[in-house]
Symmetry: C2
Subunit: 384 residues, 2 copies
């Protein structure tokens, strides 16, 4: 378990003063930091087909970028490169634990854990991101500089697949040591150059843009085969010009769209499904054969414990205390009775189910059915 110290700030104070406002250096955010993963293990993950990885190198001021999987790193030499692996939390439970201390931000806002290994001189260059990030320094040291958003910065493309920015004025200039954390809001330029072989862990966030939301909603209508209402015009008048799109027709088109968007129940349903869908592949293995509910009941009663699959996105929405709870897990939606909020929170707010939690699930038919489905999907698995 990693214990986060936010420079003596409470999470509430951090949110009020820094979150989405300005970068923060959190010196020794994790005391006596121990890396959850080794560079060799990370290289192993970068060799897997289903895991997204890339190497950025900078040799004699020439930038290069390759995408994985990678079998061999020997051509890269001793320094000037960084290996970056996405969604390590999906594949490496010990690394996934690094996300947990940041769950004073709700689950749906958290994206994934990216891990980078950099040799001396390595880094991705000065750049900015659209998303908040906490960058944790693991082994080694890195020279990090962070600036405030600056619209005068220019986009630079030192390689067709690298987007950097022109030199920026820093407000943080630090050599990070194991356990140090940088919080960087969207749009803040940052640049980290490794001083020696070092690991960095990026807890990244998710912030859908209007386009993402609208295409997500459109996909939902298509998936669910929802046609909705058709344009109707029983009140139509003879138009002055047949070519004109009238103000009234356009208003009605907008009204049809607005109705889709305004419906709170519908919005909750699609947004929950949409945002609970992991962007990167999950490491799911369905038990084969599937368990029967009574087998599960037996294990749970006997003192088994369950862990949640790394990177699994678990959310819920409840419109009011008497309303059914909508539980969203990786795009799937489960309706749970209003009085089962405790049950739902065990699934959404915890990374594991201890003995007494498991017994809670065994004690009720509906709960047992639910956990059986979730175990058979490979979303929760027995650890003991």
């Amino acid at each position: 378990m990693y214990q986060l110290c936010l420079n003596e700030l409470t999470p509430a104070q951090f949110l009020a003063e820094y979150w989405q406002k300005k970068p923060l250096l959190i010196k020794a955010g994790f005391r006596n930091f121990i890396d959850p993963i080794s560079p060799d293990e990370l290289a192993g993950l970068a060799g897997e087909e289903e895991i997204e990885s890339r190497i950025v190198s900078n040799k004699n001021a020439v930038w290069d970028m390759e995408t994985g999987p990678f079998e061999d790193f020997s051509h890269l030499g001793e320094d000037g490169w960084t290996l970056l692996v996405q969604a390590v939390d999906h594949w490496h439970p010990q690394s996934a634990a690094l996300i947990e201390p940041f769950r004073f931000i709700p689950n749906w806002r958290i994206d994934d854990l990216m891990v980078s290994f950099s040799t001396a001189g390595g880094g991705v260059g000065p750049h900015l991101d659209q998303y908040d990030v906490f960058i944790i320094q693991g082994q080694g040291k890195r020279h990090w500089r962070v600036g405030m958003p600056d619209s005068s910065l220019k986009q630079i493309c030192p390689h067709p697949r690298l987007l950097q920015v022109s030199p920026f004025i820093d407000c943080i200039n630090v050599i990070t040591e194991p356990g140090d954390i940088l919080y960087i809001p969207p749009g803040c330029p940052h640049d980290g150059i490794s001083l020696d072989p070092s690991l960095n862990y990026s807890v990244g966030f998710r912030a859908p843009a209007q386009k993402d939301l609208l295409t997500g909603l459109a996909d939902h209508l298509i998936d669910q085969d929802i046609t909705g209402q058709r344009f109707t015009d029983p009140e139509r008048q003879v138009p002055a010009s047949v070519g004109a799109i009238s103000e009234q027709d356009l208003n009605q088109v907008q009204a049809l769209l607005r109705q889709l968007v305004d419906d709170k129940a519908f919005a909750a349903e699609w947004f929950g499904s949409y945002i609970s869908h992991a962007k990167h592949e999950l490491d799911t293995t369905e038990p084969d054969p599937h368990y029967e509910a009574d087998e599960i009941a037996e294990y749970l009663e006997e003192g088994s414990v369950l862990a949640k699959l790394g990177g699994l996105r678990t959310l819920y929405y409840q419109a009011g205390p008497a309303e059914d709870i909508q539980l969203f897990i990786n795009g799937d939606r489960f309706l749970v009775p209003a009085n089962e909020l405790k049950t739902v929170k065990m699934l959404t707010d915890q990374v594991s189910l201890a003995v007494e939690d498991c017994q809670h699930f065994a004690a009720d038919h509906g709960r047992l059915q639910l956990i059986t489905v979730l175990i058979n999907k490979g979303y929760w698995y027995f650890t003991e």
Copy 2:
């Protein structure tokens, strides 16, 4: 030119009493009707790759359906089948003329002209459509029955690709003769059985559903590479449950969507592009080589005349008398100065440009540029 008689109703009266409300038989809607196309010509169109056609047959109570192109009709026998060809207005100017009398409904609501040739006993069976339609009887006779919308009707699938309805009560029961017209609103069951070899012309309408509008808007954002605003939450508070999608977050997601939908200027821009896009292929041939503007000017001044390509969708939107006019032609958008409304209407409201119209285009640089582009796209073509 076909002259429409709406049973002594004015178009305004027809709209008020029948449009989208109840079916209407218009006896001799076109007096002395002459078919614009022959069954042989229709069969020829059905042989083309780019033209959508199908044959529905009903032999000894067994329904069948094939899709074109069709080279040979000999296996079909003497009776019990119908050939239906979509968007004949795109390929056959004389048939396209049949749509014009119905332009007391604005252009954007009109879809295409479907033409069917039926042998004795032929028809597609009792069914209902989502769209308004005017069905014009050409040569031959057909026994048509039309009913009112009835939610008790059942869907029947006598063939995997045919959707029919259970027997319905008719409010119109007529043997249509050349020039007779049936107006049928959405959802009204109808069934037409041919008495002898006959032609029917369906002027069909377009009425986008909420799903169509939303996916259209999403495609527009993607095409135009509009990301829009990202979700931001600088005011975030520490949540009671990290798994919850809070009311406030959901409201904000809806607000982001609502903003996309509420923006009138944006709505006009995408809806105009979206709805001006023809559903079926157009018979465009770009002049090769392209004309220069001064060549065009010369032709126009010399008394040439221009015709609009069949099926071309031409619309405009003007937010107010002082605002630029947005002219939409088959998905393309042209900005035209506010004082050029007359010019725009010549393009959207007329099927051809007579000598004096052409001279109007030659008389101004901007107009000449516009018509040059449109001619070079194959959207207008010289007929003399």
